[in-house]
């Protein structure tokens, strides 16, 4: 469905749905409710959305920590939820995940070296000495030298702990890493260090990233393509420069304009400011039709009745909206 002719996608996601039962099984949270995309080798695929949009759930499905409720996700062409246990265990190694809270992801009773070696121990690679060498080399590469290997997580700063988590994910040489808000908990200057590290490692190890974040600055800096998610569905997908530079979906436009820009008044384009009313509705009972319509200034009765079709309106640019771009709904002027 996406461009790039001859490369086989690392991930193919087709009508993916993940539903959770809640309220003693009476209610269903539609965390992800019909999402389609491919991730190509070597790219950074950005996934942006607010809390409750379902972006982290997608990250967990990618890392095989959750199975889809329906639809399918093909890891290198294979549906791992239907594979044998053994096969799944083996193939999911190529798909790792790094989480937001670098502290919670580390066992406080394991030394840094143990933590980084643990994935290798788990798959039983080589001898203990060989595994130690790999772990030390990786720690060295991500900027934590010999001084740190016998330290424990509480002795490290947030940025250092996130480096350990990166080393951990790299030990078994994955093809793809889902990065779930990996820099959100970090201070601004450390955030830029870690982002630089991600860019370097991508080139060195030929990695593919799915970069999940709510931070527009981060996603526009690091990703080649970006998908914008709202209440369990994609609303827009395309090359990052195009999506951020000329957003077509009203939600993307609102998101872009809500991002505070550190520039003086008059250089920010405040005249284009769209401040959305209200907050993201509950994924238990999402609005009918287009899910964004309750906060959309363009919404008409059609948006309540018809679910907008996920369609490719320009090569490589996908959108789900009845009134994309600047076109105003009939009989109504755009309020901007």
């Amino acid at each position: 469905m996406t461009t790039a002719a001859n490369t086989e996608p690392l991930l193919q996601v087709r009508n993916l749905k993940v539903h959770f039962k809640t309220g003693r099984g009476r209610e269903t949270v539609m965390a992800v409710d019909g999402v389609d995309f491919d991730v190509l080798p070597g790219e950074t695929f950005g996934l942006i959305g607010e809390s409750g949009s379902g972006k982290s759930t997608i990250g967990r499905v990618i890392a095989c920590l959750l199975n889809p409720s329906s639809g399918e996700i093909l890891h290198l062409g294979t549906d791992l939820s239907k594979a044998t246990r053994r096969d799944r265990r083996f193939k999911r190694r190529d798909f790792q995940i790094i989480f937001q809270d670098p502290h919670a992801a580390l066992d406080p009773r394991m030394s840094i070296l143990q933590s980084v070696r643990e994935p290798l121990d788990a798959i039983g690679a080589g001898t203990r000495a060989e595994r130690d060498v790999i772990a030390r080399e990786l720690l060295d590469r991500i900027g934590l030298g010999a001084y740190y290997i016998d330290r424990y997580p509480h002795e490290l700063s947030g940025g250092q702990k996130q480096r350990v988590n990166i080393a951990r994910a790299l030990t078994i040489r994955p093809k793809l890493i889902a990065c779930d808000e990996v820099v959100s908990a970090l201070d601004v200057s450390i955030k830029s260090d870690i982002l630089n590290l991600f860019v370097e490692l991508q080139a060195e190890y030929g990695l593919t990233y799915v970069f999940i974040t709510h931070d527009l600055g981060v996603v526009s800096h690091i990703s080649d393509r970006v998908a914008v998610m709202y209440l369990g569905r994609f609303v827009e997908l395309g090359p990052t420069a195009e999506v951020t530079g000329k957003p077509l979906h009203p939600y993307t436009r609102a998101l872009m304009s809500a991002e505070p820009v550190p520039l003086p008044r008059g250089m920010r384009g405040d005249d284009q400011r769209i401040v959305l009313q209200g907050e993201i509705p509950s994924p238990i009972s999402p609005p009918s039709g287009c899910r964004f319509r309750t906060r959309c200034w363009k919404a008409t009765s059609r948006c309540a009745e018809q679910v907008p079709v996920w369609r490719e309106i320009e090569p490589g640019r996908w959108i789900a909206c009845h009134f994309p771009g600047d076109e105003a709904p009939q009989g109504m002027s755009t309020v901007l």
Partner: protein
């Protein structure tokens, strides 16, 4: 929105000057505020001679990484430091009285009434066992001699003024029934219920989604402009400061290192640390290009360098930086704690 009263040109005279002379229209004067914490038998200095003042209706953003003393300074302004482990020097004057030397009883009259505060996580600041109406009414009644009924009416008005839909119904809701954005609105309503002269907001939008953050920033600007309440906004987000504030105070390692008009500092910072913060923002950089960063980390209170505290992380440091630095006027009408501020052309938010 009302036009920014502090235009970059005019601001150079009075907007930035944190002079010793007390200005008649200032609502807060912080002078040489040093905060010490008792750690075991030793004492650690958390902030060192922090000085700044806030004028009536002014909106100031206090920025810096974690560990720079932003929050602890804010807590000191309200007399909320734990008295058993802390010691303070200097003064914090509100309405001509030094809060640092006031007994708790008198502080209670100032908190809420003259200074309101909101925090990052509204859920932990609201009591889950009382309705939001109860908590608002309590604030109103604590500071005003009004009947329960009148307090209820004022509370509902306060909820309406922060944009809570159907405030009469929401009045009887418990905090957990509201979304994060709505809870932060309730906190703002409580903080502003007694029309304080100053609102201190510590990372008020950090826990919120970006579209909700935009609403809250807009609300804070709108309310402070309408009521003339000054705002001290503590944040790590320079974008929020750019949109919401007129002045930036940069803190580093317990000191004020730069103080001046926002629009000026964003483009022409005069302290290498402010410049470092601005340059490391990914938003304005070229995609995938190497982001600037500030090497190292904020020193711990016990390990402060003797001269310029930023020198070990500063690419511009030379011999003179081994000496203690003063917060002094720099070109462009800002104050900077850097002996090289006059000669360096530092990069701001734009390359």
């Amino acid at each position: 929105m009302i036009e920014d009263p502090v235009t970059p040109g005019a601001a150079t005279g009075n907007g930035a000057a944190t002079s010793d002379a007390k200005r008649p229209d200032s609502v807060l004067e912080v002078k040489d505020l040093s905060i010490f914490f008792q750690l075991g038998r030793s004492e650690a200095q958390i902030t060192k001679k922090v000085s700044f003042s806030v004028r009536r209706g002014e909106r100031i953003g206090v920025v810096g990484e974690s560990g720079c003393g932003k929050t602890v300074t804010a807590l000191a302004l309200l007399g909320l430091l734990p008295p058993n482990i802390s010691r303070t020097e200097g003064s914090v004057e509100i309405g001509g009285r030094n809060l640092l030397r006031l007994p708790e009883r008198e502080l209670e009259g100032i908190r809420g009434r003259q200074v309101g505060m909101i925090f990052q996580e509204p859920m932990s600041a609201l009591d889950p066992v009382f309705t939001i109406g109860h908590q608002l009414r309590e604030t109103v009644m604590a500071h005003n001699k009004v009947s329960r009924r009148e307090a209820r009416e004022r509370s509902i008005e306060a909820l309406a003024s922060v944009g809570i839909p159907a405030p009469e119904r929401r009045y009887d809701d418990y905090p957990q029934q509201l979304s994060g954005g709505m809870r932060q609105r309730v906190m703002i309503a409580i903080a502003l219920a007694c029309k304080p002269q100053l609102l201190i907001a510590d990372e008020p939008t950090t826990a919120l989604d970006v579209t909700v953050q935009a609403q809250i920033v807009e609300l804070l600007i709108d309310l402070t402009e309408r009521t003339g309440t000054a705002l001290l906004l503590i944040t790590h987000d320079l974008g929020v400061v750019a949109e919401g504030c007129e002045r930036i105070v940069t803190m580093y390692a317990g000191e004020v290192v730069e103080d001046g008009p926002v629009d000026r500092i964003l483009l022409h910072p005069r302290h290498p640390y402010t410049s470092g913060l601005l340059r490391s923002l990914p938003r304005l950089a070229k995609p995938k290009a190497r982001l600037a960063s500030i090497p190292g980390r904020v020193p711990l209170p016990g390990e402060m360098p003797s001269g310029c505290r930023f020198a070990p992380r500063c690419t511009f440091a030379d011999d003179r930086c081994a000496l203690e630095q003063a917060l002094a006027p720099a070109p462009g009408g800002t104050l900077a704690r850097c002996c090289r501020s006059g000669e360096l052309e530092l990069q701001g938010a734009l390359a």
